[in-house]
Symmetry: C2
Subunit: 146 residues, 2 copies
Amino acid sequence: MANETFRAVAKSIGGMKVSCTSRNFEFILDEPENLGGSNEGMNPVEALLSSLGACKVIVARSFAKAHDIKLKDIRVELEGTLDPDGFMGKNKAAKIGFSAIVSKFYIEADNTDEEISDFVAFIDRTCPVADTIKNAPTTKTEIHKI
Amino acid sequence: MANETFRAVAKSIGGMKVSCTSRNFEFILDEPENLGGSNEGMNPVEALLSSLGACKVIVARSFAKAHDIKLKDIRVELEGTLDPDGFMGKNKAAKIGFSAIVSKFYIEADNTDEEISDFVAFIDRTCPVADTIKNAPTTKTEIHKI
């Protein structure tokens, strides 16, 4: 075992805007104006889809050579289905988060359809963000007053 | 039911770098140099933690008034435990994604400890990103050649 700890900080910076930092990197998340935000960034569920897609792209780039995939280009388009009535408390039966996520791989590679299909299956089972969503980690919450 | 579809695109833009876009917003994810990247952005698992923390902050801001929480300031610090030997294929027993996530709330509010504790429990169960991780959505993969 060689556990590593990854860290991020999400800090409220006015209205619905949140500064997200990890190491020396930052991006801003926000909500659209119709959800009370100032629309200065994508929202958290869009950022979740982004992290999932980026993780799949990076796994593809990292392992293509070892799998004899002559990968020229790749993008992943994500679609997540969510019923806002759930977290808004309007419908107790509605799931709070995504009920479904579709990953559409667009791949350019000098390989057969079967080779590409096998490689995509490998990506899906080797992607840390996908595994975190598929196989829930343990979670713990701490509260500190400031 | 009022399902909405949220979308994002993760596009490889050279090396391990990925352009993540949703609506008219973009951020870059990458890997550190020791993992073959050019270290121009946080990595996908750090972005996942960021989206989780931001979602909790936004739920807090959205529902504080309705819960009589006089919220002055909030940030959430996330720690995720992951064994890279899993996705590197070095240890078949290691979980691929996060095995544990800790959310540390730092809250300034004119409320009692119990009121704040109840509110944080509400946030944790009402956060769409947290629910997506805790209760896995169905997933589907499509492959398109370009």
